[in-house]
Symmetry: D2
Subunit: 260 residues, 4 copies
């Protein structure tokens, strides 16, 4: 078998090395968030970069037992008392294209929009305008914008403030802000939500679009493990009851109305 | 349907609340590791407690693409380019009883041993002695002790040093150290490995045994997302080839030797 | 890398071979259930054996969207429209020790009980008696017996009838029937449920205990894929709403009663 | 909470009902494959339809331990001895867009091509021609066609023969055969592979494109459970060793060549 190749980590007899740094040195001196940055970016973050990544990981860490990921973890935890990893994994699987997929999609939109701006030597506002018009014409949603209730997500201005005050706000934040402003004009108020905010910030930190989803997984797993622990400690096994209405084919000659 | 109950988090129109603390306040002021502590322990950590949890999360974060969890993530990432969450989840599933299960098992051993010491008013060393003798009689392994190569895991003394220098070393570290010393006498040198070290430290921080596995999942997910990202960016889809020897029933009248 | 070994299947340029039989020949002549038997047992079944396995796979195939496995699949299907495999996998993960784990546990009880009978040259009824008494003393449940509502599971007599009429009923059915009868005397009516019934039948067909869980997974996956398909086609994404009551720490100075 | 709705199944005190049919009646009279059809199609199959679905489920059931799905299951089975469902689920997760995704994609191509033929009142050959030309212009692959080694997949003619001899071959087979013939002319020989064959047959049986992936999952799970059982019974835990080359940043001042 051909060897698998990696530039992330390896271990020898005495040590594990992460991106060329000794594990024990990281354990003694770094925070976990710095190692998350190191693992995915290949270098350690500055303190301002670390602070932004901390804020993002915290911002996506939990949303209650009814969020789609926790709602998938809980039934598994209810039915399986020996394999907590199975319950956590089920929750991770719910982090699909609908739930938190918008972060990666928004990073792709930002990359494409800024790529167009640079290629065609147009301003970022003009690129954002074209992106919004294109979405309107194709009847596509703008990923990272909009909420069920049309209010600002309080996490967005906070992230942008940290980025700006530490001079880490770049073209990503400029672009998404332009998109929001043009969308407000041409469509309706569509405030930047947490997916759009983290997408812009991660772009400005130099991460690829895929990380927009991975960062959500890393942060949310901490919420899911807490949800699983609570299910194990507070609830009896098999306690979950989902009310179901059957409205399919009735048994032959059976007049039941299918309410169960 | 009966409502699900939770004491972890909820959201209202303006805010998400984690253990009674506003999400935006946590994002502005806390590190992700502090929120991991808060989510699972119900209160914020001291800086020393936070530092220990950081060291543990870092210590389990990655071990290369050949570790069982990454070895499960990589084939999924190789076969599925649209669902990175599936590849991460497959890796989480490998964090079973054999790979990293020792952390939780060791915390249970510590709890049981210390419980016996307190109940029967015997010393911790005596309780440790009984636990080792019992394991010898039942031919059971001592979870959290021993390595394939009989050398010290460099992460163990580091964790214990941090715990001791910050006055957070308690009965957990005392007990596991006693177990190691008695096992060395009665069996052979079985140095405390990372699972045993984090088990003792987490016990002294007041976490339940289950957290011994959950903390491994939280930390390792950061390594798995990096492994998945590398598979996506460095490798072509479907590149993994496992060499296989077939040694089962041969086709009727077919003389093939089954080497494939 | 050392090659992986297998006695199940391999492929050459022209053909895939399953337990030494050509895939195209199986496709032309066998039923899927026969191949399930072949894959796990290493030989093709007789028609009576095939019929029993069909009845078992059907008997566990679906139980509605509220069963724990479907209740885990549905939220993932609701949140992820691009990866139906993730939704199915989440459902498989709920087939843990509490939900359907009893099949494998019951097969182990049968194996242990019959092993004792043969080793100690006692009758099967006597072995069953000891097993029940032991469970009473250790306050352990008898796996495969009992229901929430104390009525017979209609699937049990049906399976046993097929087994008996085809002369495939063996010591497994004899043992579990003895256990039921003794439990009725010493404890209370604990009718053999589907897990106990399939355990006895699979034992008599020569399968190992592990297959008691695997057969449930194979059969139930067909129900889960149907549940996922229905979620995709009948429901809009993100439609699932779980009602949640928060009863944890309240925000400082915030008098909300935590009803959300 | 709003009740979940289903037209698939429900249970009452005495019985489980699948699409209006009593579970015990299905267990007594049907084959598992018939119930797979019933669950997903809403009606029982004819014997010819059942025979085709059997052939498809068998045809995708296993491909050896080195196939991507088994290659994901095996490391999980190696690391987790208590949760076989986790190992099976990891294998299911590898059934992504690259491995077996072509079935659903090919069914979509068939639906789109035939839809165009009907809408624009052109012949099926003409529609197939446009689809191939469009793929050439867009440099897209034709899903369901082509193999690594340019030979016929023996499963394809077998499936088509069964379909034709039972008069179940319809526009799906006609369309994909036309696509193959035009592709041979305009591109190169791209024989219809198993994904393309099952896509055409399932289309002609009236299944929606999504079932092209689900049927692969249902069939392959039987192979995965066999692979997991073999890992448990033949191999010691944690036996899998993946050879890895590290080619990333070297430790400061450390001259190791990174071969591990």
């Amino acid at each position: 078998m051909e060897s698998w190749k990696t530039a992330i980590s390896y271990s020898d007899e005495d040590q594990i090395w992460i991106r060329g740094q000794a594990m024990t040195s990281l354990m003694a001196n770094a925070s976990f968030t710095e190692v998350v940055f190191l693992l995915h970016h290949g270098r350690a973050p500055s303190q301002d970069e670390r602070r932004l990544l901390d804020a993002i990981l915290i911002g996506v860490s939990d949303h209650g037992p009814g969020s789609p990921s926790a709602a998938a973890s809980r039934p598994v935890a209810s039915a399986s008392r020996q394999a907590p990893e199975a319950a956590v994994a089920a929750g991770v699987l719910a982090i699909g294209d609908m739930h938190a997929g918008a972060g990666a999609a928004c990073m792709e939109m930002i990359e494409a929009g800024l790529g167009m701006a640079h290629r065609e030597s147009i301003g970022i506002a003009e690129a954002a305008h074209r992106v919004v018009v294109d979405a309107i014409q194709k009847k596509k949603r703008l990923p990272g914008l909009g909420h069920r209730i049309h209010k600002e997500d309080p996490r967005t201005p906070l992230l942008f403030d940290i980025a700006r005050s530490s001079k880490l706000a770049g073209e990503g934040i400029e672009f998404i802000t332009a998109v929001e402003s043009i969308a407000r004009e041409l469509i309706k108020p569509l405030p930047i939500n947490i997916d759009g905010a983290l997408a812009a910030v991660l772009h400005d930190l130099g991460f690829p679009p895929l990380f927009g989803k991975l960062v959500f997984i890393i942060g949310r797993v901490a919420g899911l493990t807490a949800q699983v622990m609570e299910e194990y400690t507070r609830e009896r096994p098999m306690r979950i009851r989902i009310p179901v209405d059957y409205d399919g084919i009735q048994p032959n000659g059976n007049g039941t109305n299918g309410q169960h």
